[in-house]
C-alpha cells in the first residue's frame, strides 16, 4: 500500500514589491524555478538538432581519420594566405582601417533626424545622432540606428522591372514619360501618393511637376500618423500643426494617451531625462500625469497614471478645461464649455482626490504646464488638448504649421476615383496602400482599373505586386535631400554610392519632368544645390556658395533663423466637439490600434534588429499579440499565449493574447505593421491589423463594440518578459521623492561584505558605468545601438521563444503594486564586469578572465562552450550561440558588420565587453597624441545611443571623472550587492514624483 504524504501547507503568499510576470507576483513554483535556472527550459533542449542518421561509430572514426588527413593536407597549403587588394586610386579621405563619419539625415513621417553615419572603407556600419544639431545633441531614435539594415536588405529590388522582367532605366523613363504625356494630352488626372513631405526641395520638385503636368494630384499619406490629430488641429487652427514639446520648460506634463517618450523623439527624451536626474531630493523636477488606455512607455514612466478608456479621453480633457475655467483660467474667444458638467466624467475611474491634485497641478503650473494628446486619440480629444494648452498659455510646447497629410477619407476618395476610371496613371512612391489601407482588397481592385501603374520603393511589397512598372529607389544612405524643421535646415548626403541599379526617387520624377519638356537640372543633387543657392544661401554672403554648401554638408545642417509664425487658436468648434466627446462610448470592449514599436507602419517589418528588439512595454518580439487587461482576460478565460478571435465590424482576426498589467479595463490593443506577406523576415510575422482600422478620419485607430472570444489552442510567445529572471534582494529600487529625502538623510548600510579573494589591482584604469534609472525611460535605443556596434546576431522568433536571444544589453521591466495599474521600473541589464566575477572561476579553459582595467574579458577563440560561466552568472547576462546564426550571412547582409568586432560562431559564449574595441581605440589614439585619456572620450555604444543620457561610462580610477562622482550619489545601489561579486556597474534608484495627499506639491 502506498503511503499518502499529506501535501505540505502552502506558505502564505507574499506579494513581492517588484515583479515581472503575473506568475512571479503570485510566486508560483514555475516562476521560482525560473529564477534559479540558468536558461529557460527550452533553451538547452537539443530537440531541434537534426536527428542523427544511421551512422556507426566505426564509420564516424573512419570519416574523422579522413577529415584529419584532409585538414593536414589543407594546412600544408601555402597558398591559403589569400590576397591583398589595395585601391587603384585611393579616395583621399579613406584610410583603410580608419572610420569616416558623414553628417546626413533620415526622414520618418514628418520628423527628420540629423545623424552621423560611421563608414568603414566606404561602407556605412553605424548610425548615431548628429552632435551639431542643437536639439538632438548626438542622439537619435532606435529605428534610425536600425535603419542601416534597410540599406543591406537582401530583399531590395536591384533593377527596374516591368511585367516581371528586368528593364533598362532608359526604357522605364520612356514608358513613364509616354504615360504622363498621354494623361496630360487627354486632360486626365494623374495620382501621386507619397509619404509625408518634409523636404522643401522635394516640395519644390512636386510644384515643378504640377506645373508641367497640371492634372497631377498629390496625396502625402502616413498610415499611422493619426488622422484624429490632423482633424482636431484643422478644427481649432485651420491648419495641420506639428506639436513639439519643450519639456525643459515644463513643470507639469499631462499626457492624454500621448506616447511622447517612446524614443521616436530624442529631444523630448533628453529634456525629460535632464529633469529627472536629481542629485539632491530638493531639486526642481517635473511631474508626469498620464491618462491612457494601453500602458505605453510614457505611461510606464508616469508619476501618476490612471487607466482611462480612449473613448473617454476627450470627455476627460473637456472636464479638465471646465475645472480650469472654474479655477479662473480664461477660455479663448469663441470657446463655450457650458454643456460640460463639472467633475470627473462618467465612466472614468479617477479618484476625486487625484482629480483635485491634477487640476491643482495644472492650475498652479500654468505656463509651465503642458498637455499632449496621443496620435491615436479622437479629433475631439485633440481639440480639447489644444484648448487646455491655450488656456494654460503653455510655453512648454512649440506649435508649427505643417504640410497637410492625407487622411483615410482622402485615400478612400482616391480609391473610388480609381474604381470609376478617373485616373490615367498612378505613381506610388514609398507607400504601401495594398497592405496599409483598411480596405486593401477594394484598393487592389480599384488600382487594377488604372491603365498605368508605377511603383517606386526599396523592396517589392504588396503594392508592387499590383503595379506594372517597378522602379527601385535609393536607400536614404544613398540619397541627397534636405529637410526643414522650423529654423533649421538639415542636409542629407549619400554615405555610399548606389549599391544596385537604382535611382533616387526624385531623379525618377526629374527624368519624367524632362520627358514632359521642362528645363530641369541633370539630377536631384544639382536641383537641390540650385534651389539652395536661390533660397537658402544668404544674399550678399562673403562666403562663396560652393564653400557655404560644403560647410553645410560637413555640419549636416544650416541655421536659417526664420521662425514661422505660430498658428492662432480658434474656439468655434469646441462646443460641438465637447458634446460629441461627452456622448462617446466605447461599448463593452474597445480597440486601440497603435503603431508597432519595431514595424511602425510595416515598413521596418523586414528589419531583423528591430523585430527582435523586445517591445519596451510588452517585451514581445517578432509578433503583435492582442493586449488585454488582466481583469478582462480572467473574465474571458484567456491566458498568456491563448489564441483568441478579435471581431470588429465583421472583420475577424485570430491572434494570441498577452495579459498586460496596467491596461485599462475594457480596452484591447493591437500593434500595426505586422502580418506582411512580402519580405523574407517580415512575411508571416504577426497579423495585419490595418483591416480593423476605421475609415472615419476623426479616430481611425479607435474602434468600439469589439468582440474578443477564446479561439481554442495557444501559441508559444516569443516574449522576453519572463526571460533571465534574477533571484535576490532589491534588484531594482524605485523611490518617491519623500522616500528619496528619507534615504538621503539616513541611508541603510548593508552588512559589510567579506571576501576570501585578494583585492583586484587596477594599475591604470578601472572602467565602470553608472545607470540612472530615474532618467532611463526604457526606449531600448541602447539595445539597438549595441546590436549594431557589436555584431550581435538576430536569431528569429522560434529561438527567442526558447530563450536564446543574443542581446548583450537587455531592458528588464519590473512592475510594482496593483496589477490593474502598476508602477513600472525599467532596468538596463548588461554584464556587470564584477571584480570577483563568478563566471571567471568556473571556466575550465580560462576563456573568461579579468583584465587589469576591470573588464571581464571574453575570449571567443578559447571558449569551448561548456556554459558553466552562464550557469554561474547571477545577472544572467551571458549569451550562448546555441546554433550557427552568422555563418550563412553573405553580401549584402554581411556588409553591415563592424570590422572591429569578431563575428561569433556556434558554440561560443558572448556578452557585453564595455565596447572594448572603443576603449582600445581611445587609448591608442591618446597614446599616439602623447596625452592622457580624457573623461568622456570613450563611450560605449549603449551610452551614445541613450537619448536621455541615463548611461554614463568612464574611469573609476580618475576621481574627477563623471562616473566616479555619480558612484558616490545618494541614490546609488548595486544589483545583488549581497553576493559580494563587486559589480562595476552602479545603478541610481528610480524616482517617482507622485502628487502628495492634501494638495501639497513638491515642484
Amino acid at each position: 500500500m502506498k503511503t499518502q504524504i499529506p501535501p505540505s501547507p502552502e506558505p502564505p503568499v507574499e506579494i513581492p514589491r517588484y515583479w515581472r510576470t503575473l506568475g512571479e507576483r503570485e510566486e508560483t513554483p514555475e516562476a521560482r524555478k525560473a529564477a534559479h535556472d540558468e536558461f529557460l527550459p527550452g533553451a538547452v533542449d537539443v530537440a531541434d538538432l537534426p536527428a542523427p542518421s544511421e551512422f556507426s561509430r566505426r564509420g564516424f572514426l573512419g570519416l574523422m581519420g579522413g577529415a584529419a588527413a584532409l585538414a593536414a593536407t589543407v594546412a600544408c597549403d601555402r597558398k591559403g594566405q589569400g590576397t591583398i587588394v589595395p585601391y587603384t586610386r585611393r579616395p583621399v579621405e579613406v584610410i583603410p582601417g580608419v572610420a569616416n563619419y558623414y553628417a546626413s539625415a533620415r526622414q520618418e513621417g514628418r520628423r527628420a533626424y540629423s545623424v552621423l553615419v560611421k563608414t568603414r572603407e566606404g561602407r556605412p556600419i553605424h548610425i548615431t545622432g548628429n552632435d551639431e544639431h542643437p536639439g538632438f545633441k548626438g542622439k537619435t531614435s532606435p529605428r534610425t540606428i536600425a535603419d542601416i539594415m534597410g540599406l543591406y536588405d537582401a530583399d531590395r529590388l536591384r533593377a527596374p522591372k516591368a511585367e516581371g522582367r528586368p528593364l533598362a532605366w532608359a526604357e522605364a523613363d520612356s514608358r513613364m514619360t509616354a504615360a504622363l504625356a498621354g494623361a496630360k494630352a487627354a486632360g486626365k488626372p494623374v495620382l501621386l501618393i507619397t509619404g509625408a513631405v518634409a523636404s522643401p526641395s522635394r516640395k519644390a520638385l512636386f510644384a515643378d511637376l504640377k506645373a508641367a503636368l497640371p492634372t497631377l494630384e498629390h496625396l502625402a499619406w502616413e498610415p499611422v500618423r493619426g488622422d484624429g490629430a490632423a482633424e482636431g488641429a484643422r478644427a481649432v487652427f485651420g491648419t495641420d500643426v506639428e506639436v513639439a514639446p519643450r519639456l525643459e520648460k515644463a513643470k507639469v506634463v499631462l499626457s492624454l494617451g500621448a506616447d511622447f517618450l517612446s524614443g521616436e523623439d530624442p529631444e523630448a527624451l533628453a529634456a525629460f531625462g535632464a529633469k529627472r536626474r536629481l542629485s539632491e531630493p530638493g531639486q526642481a523636477t517635473n511631474r508626469l500625469w498620464v491618462l491612457e488606455g494601453p500602458l505605453s512607455i510614457t505611461g510606464s514612466n508616469a508619476d501618476q497614471r490612471f487607466p482611462v478608456r480612449p473613448s473617454r479621453i476627450a470627455a476627460v480633457a473637456f472636464a479638465l478645461a471646465k475645472a480650469l475655467q472654474s479655477r479662473g483660467l480664461g477660455l479663448p474667444a469663441g470657446a463655450d464649455l457650458s454643456a460640460v458638467p463639472a467633475g470627473v466624467p462618467q465612466g472614468v475611474d479617477i479618484p476625486a482626490e487625484a482629480w483635485k491634485n491634477l487640476v491643482n497641478d495644472l492650475a498652479s503650473a500654468r505656463r509651465e504646464a503642458l498637455v499632449l494628446c496621443g496620435a491615436e486619440m479622437s479629433a475631439e480629444a485633440h481639440q480639447a488638448a489644444h484648448l487646455l494648452n491655450a488656456m494654460l498659455g503653455s510655453q512648454a510646447l512649440e506649435l508649427r504649421a505643417a504640410e497637410p497629410l492625407a487622411t483615410v477619407k482622402d485615400l478612400d476618395a482616391a480609391m473610388q476615383g480609381m474604381a470609376a476610371g478617373r485616373y490615367a496613371a498612378v505613381l506610388l512612391w514609398d507607400v504601401n496602400p495594398a497592405y496599409a489601407f483598411p480596405r486593401a482588397q477594394a484598393w487592389k481592385d480599384a488600382l487594377a482599373k488604372v491603365p498605368f501603374r508605377a511603383w517606386m520603393g526599396l523592396a517589392e511589397d504588396e503594392t508592387a505586386a499590383q503595379c506594372q512598372l517597378l522602379l527601385p529607389v535609393n536607400h536614404w544612405l544613398e540619397s541627397w535631400n534636405d529637410f526643414g524643421s522650423g529654423e533649421l535646415f538639415i542636409l542629407q548626403q549619400p554615405a555610399i554610392g548606389a549599391l544596385y541599379d537604382t535611382r533616387q526617387g526624385e531623379d525618377v520624377l526629374l527624368a519624367a519632368l524632362k520627358g514632359l519638356g521642362a528645363a530641369v537640372p541633370a539630377d536631384y543633387h544639382a536641383y537641390l544645390k540650385a534651389r539652395w543657392q536661390k533660397e537658402v544661401y544668404p544674399a550678399g554672403s562673403p562666403v562663396a556658395f560652393e564653400r557655404y554648401f560644403e560647410v553645410a554638408l560637413h555640419d549636416g545642417l544650416v541655421k536659417d533663423g526664420k521662425a514661422a509664425p505660430a498658428p492662432v487658436f480658434k474656439g468655434a468648434t469646441l462646443a460641438a466637439a465637447a458634446k460629441q466627446a461627452l456622448a462617446a462610448q466605447g461599448g463593452d470592449l474597445e480597440l486601440v490600434l497603435v503603431p508597432g514599436f519595431a514595424t511602425h507602419d510595416g515598413r521596418y517589418a523586414n528589419n531583423g534588429w528591430l523585430m527582435e528588439t523586445p517591445d519596451p512595454v510588452t517585451k514581445m518580439t517578432w509578433d503583435n499579440p492582442l493586449l488585454l487587461s488582466v481583469a478582462d482576460a480572467r473574465r474571458l478565460k484567456l491566458n498568456d499565449g491563448d489564441l483568441a478571435t478579435l471581431t470588429v465590424d465583421g472583420t475577424t482576426l485570430r491572434v494570441p493574447v498577452v495579459l498586460q498589467p496596467g491596461q485599462a479595463k475594457g480596452v484591447v490593443t493591437l500593434a500595426l505593421g505586422y502580418g506582411r506577406t512580402t519580405g523574407e523576415m517580415a512575411a508571416g510575422k504577426g497579423v495585419n491589423a490595418f483591416p480593423l482600422m476605421a475609415l472615419d478620419p476623426a479616430a481611425p485607430n479607435l474602434r468600439s463594440g469589439v468582440q474578443v472570444a477564446a479561439a481554442g489552442g495557444s501559441k508559444p510567445l516569443s516574449r522576453t518578459q519572463a526571460h533571465h529572471r534574477l533571484d535576490g534582494r532589491e534588484i531594482v529600487q524605485s523611490w518617491s521623492l519623500a522616500e528619496y529625502a528619507q534615504e538621503a538623510r539616513d541611508r541603510k548600510k548593508g552588512p559589510e561584505l567579506v571576501t576570501l579573494y585578494p583585492d583586484q589591482e587596477f594599475p591604470q584604469h578601472k572602467w565602470g558605468m553608472v545607470i540612472d534609472l530615474a532618467a532611463c525611460v526604457g526606449c531600448s535605443g541602447c539595445m539597438v545601438g549595441c546590436q549594431s556596434e557589436n555584431n550581435v546576431a538576430v536569431v528569429g522568433p522560434e529561438q527567442v521563444t526558447r530563450g536564446r536571444e543574443m542581446h548583450w544589453i537587455r531592458l528588464d521591466s519590473y512592475y510594482e503594486g496593483d496589477v490593474d495599474n502598476p508602477k513600472v521600473v525599467h532596468q538596463p541589464m548588461l554584464c556587470q564586469h564584477c571584480d570577483d566575477a563568478p563566471c571567471e572561476n568556473v571556466c575550465p579553459v580560462n576563456a573568461t578572465n579579468h583584465s587589469p582595467e576591470g573588464l571581464n574579458q571574453m575570449v571567443y577563440n578559447r571558449c569551448v562552450g561548456t556554459r558553466y560561466c552562464a550557469n554561474n552568472c547571477p545577472y544572467k547576462v551571458r549569451r550562448f550561440n546555441f546554433l550557427e546564426y552568422t555563418a550563412d550571412k553573405v553580401e549584402p547582409e554581411s556588409l553591415i558588420y563592424n570590422p572591429e568586432v569578431t563575428v561569433r560562431p556556434r558554440g561560443v559564449m558572448e556578452k557585453c565587453t564595455f565596447c572594448v574595441q572603443r576603449i582600445e581605440d581611445g587609448k591608442i589614439r591618446a597614446k599616439g597624441e602623447d596625452r592622457p585619456l580624457q573623461d568622456g572620450e570613450i563611450t560605449p555604444a549603449c551610452a551614445v545611443s541613450c537619448p536621455s543620457d541615463a548611461i554614463v561610462f568612464g574611469d573609476l580610477k580618475d576621481p574627477n571623472s563623471k562616473v566616479s562622482q555619480l558612484v558616490k550619489a545618494n541614490r546609488s545601489f548595486k544589483v545583488l550587492e549581497e553576493l559580494g561579486v563587486k559589480p562595476a556597474i552602479t545603478y541610481l534608484a528610480d524616482l517617482k514624483n507622485p502628487a502628495i495627499e492634501g494638495g501639497q506639491h513638491e515642484l
Binding site: A72, A75, C76, R78, K79, Q81, G82, T83, I84, V85, P86, Y87, T88, R89, R90, I95, P96, G97, V98, N849, S851, P852, E853, L855, Q857, V859, Y860, N861, R862, E900, V901, T902, T913, V916, Q917, E920, I924, R925, K927, G928
Partner: protein, 187 residues
Amino acid sequence: MHPFDRAFRFVLPVGAVAVLSTVLAVGWFTQPDRFAKGYAPEQPIPFSHQLHAGTMKMQCLYCHSGAERSRSAGVPSAEVCMGCHKVTRTDRPAIQKLTQLYNAGKPILWQRVHTLPDHVFFDHRPHVNAGIACQTCHGEVQTMPVITREMGMRMANCLGCHRDPHAALPKDSKITRGPENCSACHR
C-alpha cells in the same frame, strides 16, 4: 610462440616506435614556424623591397602610410607607384603591366605574406608610434628582393616582446611593457 613472447618481442617495440613516430610527426608538422617562416610567394609584379627600401632608402611609411594612423599599415594604391613610374623605368615589362592595370582601374592582387587569424586585432599604431622598427616583426625587409616572412607571428612572438620589450624598443624609450590581457588583442 608464447603470447607474452610475441607481446614483448613484437607488439611492444612496434607500438612504442609507432607512438613515438606519431608524436614526432605531429609535433614536426604542427610546429609554429614550420610553414610561416620563409614564406615567399611569387607576386603579380616582382616588386623588390631591396631596391626601393634598401638601395633607394625610401621610407617604409612612404608607401605603408596607414601604419601611423590606422590599425593596418596598408598596401599602397597603384596611384602611389605611378607617382614615380609614370616616368621612371617605363621600359620594364613589370612597369608596363602595372601601368596597364592602373589605366584599366584594375587592382593588383598581391599575395598576402604576413597574416594574422581573424580573431586577432593587431594595431600598428601603438607599435609604430612607440618607435618599434618595422624590421622587428617583418624582418630586414630592405634586403629582400622578394618579400619573405621571417617571423611566425604566433601569440608567443607578441607576448615575448610585450613582457620584455627592451630588445625591440629604442634605447631611450620609456615604455616598460605591453598589455598582456586578452582583450588588448581579442574582442
